[in-house]
Every structure is written in structure tokens, then in C-alpha cells.
């Protein structure tokens, strides 16, 4: 069933892609085949492959239960927040929180997660900022 749904989504993506490609405004100084042909070719392959998934699906993958799925979504949300907060809070503070969260969800105790968050943040800061001189996000406190 998963593959059939995947095929339907793939087909939808291919169609949207074709539709978007058809709206590309051609410039007056185009080459012989223009900017649309290659996207059309790609969409054809994608569409045919998707049809194949729908007609001949593979065996069902083992999907995680609702709890685990929630876990993955939460981790992605935390990472998105991390990306947003980097320039606001600075590298060290944001990283402590993000690492601690991930470490906690991967099975560390809360205290140990905080410890590994602090160690990871300062470790990366030391290696990449102080030793290698990479530019990391600066917060209001300068680190």
C-alpha cells in the first residue's frame, strides 16, 4: 500500500513539475530547445516510475509506530527551530539545547543529555572557532 501511495504522490509531483515547467517564460534569445525540454524529460521518467510503483508495489516497509513518528517529526521541528535561533541566540547556547534534546531522545538521562549538550557545544566551538577559525553564528553575547 505504501508504494501505491508513494506512486500517487510521485505522479502528482511529476505533473506539478510539468505544469510549472510549462509556465516558464521563454526569453526571446533562447537556444534551439529552450529551458523546458529537459524538465519534460525528467518528468516523463518520474511519472513512468511512479506508475510502476502503483502497479507493482514492493512489499510493505516497516513503518514506525505513531510514537516514533512523532519522535522524528519533533526532532525535525527542533532542528528547524535551531536553524532559526542560531543567529538570535548564537552558536553555543542554541547548540547546547539542540544537542541536549537529541541526546535525551536517543536515550540519555536528562542530566547526561545536558552534560553532553554543553560538552558538544563547547567542543565544537573550541575546535572550529578557536582552533580552525571558522565563522559560527554569533549571538548577542558574541559566541
Amino acid at each position: 500500500m505504501s508504494d501505491r501511495i508513494f506512486g500517487a504522490i510521485g505522479l502528482a509531483i511529476a505533473l506539478i513539475y510539468v505544469w510549472q515547467a510549462s509556465t516558464i517564460e521563454e526569453s526571446f534569445m533562447s537556444d534551439v530547445i529552450g529551458p523546458k525540454l529537459f524538465p519534460y524529460l525528467i518528468a516523463t521518467v518520474m511519472g513512468l516510475a511512479s506508475l510502476f510503483f502503483m502497479l507493482r508495489p514492493d512489499e510493505e516497509p516497516v513503518w514506525p509506530g505513531f510514537g516514533k513518528l512523532f519522535e522524528i517529526i519533533m526532532a525535525a521541528v527542533v532542528m528547524l527551530f535551531y536553524a532559526q535561533l542560531l543567529p538570535v541566540l548564537g552558536f553555543v547556547i542554541s547548540t547546547i539545547f539542540a544537542t541536549a534534546y537529541l541526546s535525551w531522545r536517543l536515550g540519555s538521562t536528562p542530566i547526561m543529555s545536558l552534560v553532553s549538550g554543553v560538552l558538544t557545544a563547547f567542543g565544537i566551538y573550541t575546535v572550529f572557532r578557536l582552533i580552525l577559525g571558522l565563522s559560527l553564528a554569533r549571538g548577542p553575547l558574541g559566541f
Binding site: A21, E25, M29, D31, V32, V45, M46, I72, L102
Partner: protein, 514 residues
């Protein structure tokens, strides 16, 4: 001879203190990454590219660093195969078959040592193969016009799934998806925006580094999040390593095996669609048929450890031939190395050998040096690398995630790219669950631009006549191989796969089934 002159120039470049240091660092990091389950050669190299880039390394040292990581990871993959029966990466799968029984019999040290030596022999001879074969291939490649290149790129995608590919439709879908990502942004030749949805950040396209790091490194974090209960239950008992220097008798005993499997592995590496996993598989099964008279293979025969290790390291060297000479990688890790070159603004292919000989030959010389370093690192220091296996994923994976963020932020400094990377991480996770291979997606993103340019150039030259695409014998040959390479696995794939996995029926479910 010409080749030797170029090679000695290469050694002059590679033997500077700076480059030696990078080679050593790369070998060390690579071995660790290869040893850690869940962090194979491709993710290892992937997280380091943006870092090498932002550190402002010149192309040669950056390449030396990252290819040393590549070779190192090929060495390191065997450590967890032998000690834990969990392959550190896919090519190390076959090493489990005899390595783990040896470890259980108290001969772990010997197994590690002989596999280290086999890796060295495989990689060393394969690097010589690279020295002689790559310039020959370059001569052929100079005959390629845009139409042939377009056919060659198609060939690369058609054969990428490899002979053991499960579902060719999924490989094709993955390639198309990657190519679609590559079309986002400003069209170079006409200056019109494509698929940007009015988003300013998308005008200069999706950075392939963002795609690679998201798909390879972050998706691994999600996979671990999903499985972490399973990995917590498994406590690693310390295994007695035993003596770590092999006896001469043992080395002599395994030498014919190593030499034969090196040859096979190298060929498997050069050919499109085979790669290191198949190299180690062919090597193991051929040796088994050839020398296993008493049925000791699978029960801890040292030759069963030497064969796949020599095979997969030789294949790793062989895979560099098409990557450097044609600019078309045949495996996941070489695809990532292609990304390194593109990030450094170097276009691999025949012109690389004439325009940047210092890069090519410096790199090849570095491979020789790295190999010797790896042998020296691996025999006495293998105890250190086995310690690495004790780092729990709950500490390791967040670090992997954070270093990925640091790298991408260093390249672009934009939160938009970081968010896109997270999205690619989730997408990579979902695709892996659906058994869609990620390598074609990444390769599509990398090659999409060049593929389209060549198609349009060919048709512009022929003034819109599509016949030009099959207009030369060379092009027709490439299309034929592409079609055969795509169709063959559909017919023979199921048979080959069942054989590859037959020996491992009793294994615990491993998390690194990528």
C-alpha cells in the same frame, strides 16, 4: 615514461608537510568513521566537504584530506564487522562471514591484522591500476562530444543501481528527483528563472552540499532516532583481541588470495554499476569456490577475511578511474568525491588531466602515501579504533547533526539553507524507508547541470536534429551499455541478491542496511 614523470611531480606536491598532515588526519578520521556503525564512507566524506570548503583549503590539500578519509573509511569498515558482526559499511558485509567467527575463536587480533594487510594490498595495487588506466581512459574521453557526454551521464544513472539493485523503477525515480532538484534556479543559457516559486533564495539553485549533507548525514540521525531502543539493548561485550601481528606464515598463506581478489575487485570498481560491495562479494565467492577444499570458509578462515577486504579496497581504487577520467562516478562515495571537486570549482574529466595535472597527480601520490600511513596506523593502533565502537549513538549522532549544521552554516551563513537541509534530511529518511536509493538523488543533483548543458549543446550544434544523440558509433555503444545495464539487474538481480545475503541469515538486525 610519461606516467612516471607525472607521478613523481605528484609526489613532490604530496610530500609537503602540510599535505602529509592532511593525509594523516584524513586517514585517522576516515578509519574512525568507517569503524563506527552508521557512519560509512559517504556520510563521513559528506559532512567534511563543507568544512574543508569553509576552511578555505586549496583544492589539492582538500582533495587529499577527503580522499584519505575515503580510503580510511574503507579500512575502518572491517573493524565492526569482525568484532561485532555488524558491518560498518556495506562493502564490509562479506568480511563478517569469516571475520566474526575468527573473533569468537579468540583470533580477533589476527583477523584485524590480516584484513588490514589485505586492504593495503588491494588499495596499493588498485592505485597503480589507476595510474596506468586513467590516462588511457582520458584519451578515449577526449573523443567525446556533447552528445556522447549526454549518453554517458544516462549510462551512469542507468547502471548506478548496480547488478544487485532491487527495484530499477525506484533507482530511476531517484535519479529523476535529483535531476529535478538540479533544474531549480536561474537557467544559465536563457537567464529565465525555473521552479523558484518566487523565492529569492532559490534563484541561484539548491546548493548540492545542502542536499548531500541533509540526505546522507541528517537522515542517519532520524534512522537512529527511530531505532534507538534496539541499539540500547545491545550491550557490547569487550572481545579479546589476541595477538595483533600476523605471522609470516599466515601472510604467505593468504597472499595468492589477496592478489587474485585484488584483480577482480579493481575490475568491479572500474566498471559502471558494480562498485565496492559487489567487488567484495565477487572476490569472496570466487575464492570460496577456488580454494575452499575443506569447507572452512564461513567458519573463520583467514583467507575468507583477506578476500573481501582486498576486493573492496581494490574496487574503491578502481572506482576512482571513471570518476577522475570521465567525471562520472560509479558509486555513492565517488559521487561524494565528485561533489568535493565541484565545490572546489574543478570539473573532473579529461580536461582535468591537462589543465590541473598538479591536482590529479598530487592526489594519486597522496593515495599511495595514505595507504602506507593506513597500514602503519591500522596494525599497531587497531586497539584504539576498537575503543571507538564503544561510543554510544546517543552521544555520537547529535554530534554528527551539529557538525552538519556547522558545515552548511559555514558555507552559506543562511538559515534558509539550514532549513532546506533539515527538509532533505526528513525526505532522505522517508525515501530510505521506501527503499528508494539516495545515491542517484545526490548524483542527479550533482550532474543535472552538466547533463542538461550537454544535451542542449548537442542539439544546438545539430540545429534541433535529435538524430545527433545517436549519431556516432561511440554514442550508440554508450546507449547500448546504458540499456543493458538497466535491464540486466531486472533479470539477474533477484538471484544475485539472494546469494549475497545467504550467508548472513543468522545475523542480528543491523541498522546500517543502506
Amino acid at each position: 615514461m610519461d606516467v612516471f614523470a607525472s607521478l613523481s611531480d605528484g609526489f613532490l606536491i604530496a610530500l609537503s608537510w602540510e599535505n602529509l598532515m592532511f593525509a594523516l588526519l584524513g586517514c585517522f578520521l576516515g578509519t574512525i568513521m568507517g569503524a563506527l556503525p552508521g557512519l560509512g564512507p559517504s556520510n563521513g566524506v559528506a559532512i567534511l566537504i563543507p568544512l574543508a570548503f569553509t576552511l578555505g583549503l586549496a583544492p589539492t590539500p582538500a582533495l587529499i584530506l577527503l580522499t584519505s578519509v575515503y580510503y580510511g573509511a574503507m579500512y575502518g569498515g572491517r573493524v565492526s564487522s569482525i568484532l561485532l558482526n555488524i558491518p560498518g559499511d556495506e562493502p564490509a558485509l562479506m568480511t563478517c562471514l569469516d571475520g566474526y567467527p575468527m573473533a569468537q575463536a579468540g583470533r580477533a587480533g589476527e583477523a584485524l591484522a590480516i584484513s588490514g594487510i589485505a586492504s593495503f594490498v588491494g588499495a596499493f595495487i588498485a592505485t597503480w591500476g589507476l595510474v596506468f588506466l586513467a590516462p588511457q581512459l582520458v584519451k578515449v574521453a577526449l573523443l567525446f562530444g556533447p552528445a556522447e557526454y549526454f549518453a554517458l551521464f544516462t549510462l551512469a544513472f542507468a547502471t548506478l543501481g548496480g547488478l544487485s539493485s532491487k527495484n530499477q523503477a525506484k533507482s530511476a525515480f531517484a535519479a529523476a528527483l535529483g535531476l529535478a532538484f538540479a533544474t531549480v534556479g536561474m537557467d544559465d543559457q536563457t537567464g529565465v528563472a525555473r521552479f523558484t516559486f518566487g523565492e529569492v533564495h532559490l534563484f541561484d539553485g539548491i546548493d548540492f552540499l545542502v542536499v548531500i549533507v541533509g540526505m546522507f548525514a541528517l537522515s542517519e540521525v532520524f534512522i537512529f532516532l527511530e531505532h534507538h531502543k534496539a541499539s540500547d539493548l545491545k550491550h557490547v561485550e569487550p572481545i579479546k583481541i589476541g595477538r595483533i601481528t600476523p605471522s609470516w606464515a599466515l601472510i604467505k598463506y593468504c597472499t595468492p588470495t589477496m592478489l587474485r581478489t585484488t584483480g577482480l575487485g579493481f575490475i568491479a570498481g572500474v566498471l559502471p554499476g558494480a562498485g565496492a560491495s559487489l567487488g567484495s562479494f565477487i572476490a569472496y565467492s570466487m575464492e570460496k569456490r577456488l580454494v575452499d577444499k575443506k569447507g572452512t570458509f564461513g567458519k573463520g578462515d583467514p583467507r575468507g577475511v583477506a578476500a573481501p577486504e582486498a576486493g573492496n579496497n581494490a574496487a574503491a581504487g578502481g572506482a576512482l578511474v571513471p570518476m577522475l577520467a570521465l567525471g562520472v562516478p560509479g558509486s555513492g562515495t565517488t559521487a561524494v568525491l565528485l561533489a568535493v571537486l565541484l565545490a572546489m570549482n574543478i570539473t573532473p574529466g579529461p580536461l582535468l588531466f591537462t589543465q590541473n595535472p598538479d591536482v590529479v597527480w598530487g592526489l594519486i601520490a597522496a593515495l599511495f602515501i595514505g595507504n602506507v600511513m593506513l597500514l602503519i596506523l591500522n596494525i599497531p593502533m587497531v586497539g584504539l579504533f576498537t575503543r571507538v565502537l564503544l561510543i554510544p549513538p546517543r552521544v555520537l549522532m547529535p554530534i554528527v547533526a551539529m557538525i552538519s549544521f556547522v558545515g552548511i552554516y559555514g558555507v552559506s551563513g543562511s538559515t534558509f539553507d539550514l532549513m532546506v537541509m533539515v527538509i532533505f534530511g526528513v525526505l532522505g529518511w522517508a525515501l530510505r524507508k521506501l527503499d528508494v536509493p539516495l545515491v542517484p538523488v545526490v548524483l542527479g543533483t550533482l550532474l543535472g547541470y552538466a547533463m542538461e548543458v550537454n544535451l542542449r549543446r548537442a542539439l544546438t550544434i545539430s540545429d534541433g536534429d535529435y538524430g545527433v544523440l545517436v549519431g556516432s558509433p561511440l554514442a550508440i555503444g554508450l546507449w547500448t551499455v546504458a540499456i543493458l545495464g538497466f535491464v540486466f539487474p531486472i533479470i539477474f538481480g533477484p538471484m544475485l541478491r539472494s546469494r549475497m545475503h545467504a550467508g548472513r541469515a543468522t545475523d542480528p538486525k543491523d541498522l546500517t542496511d543502506e
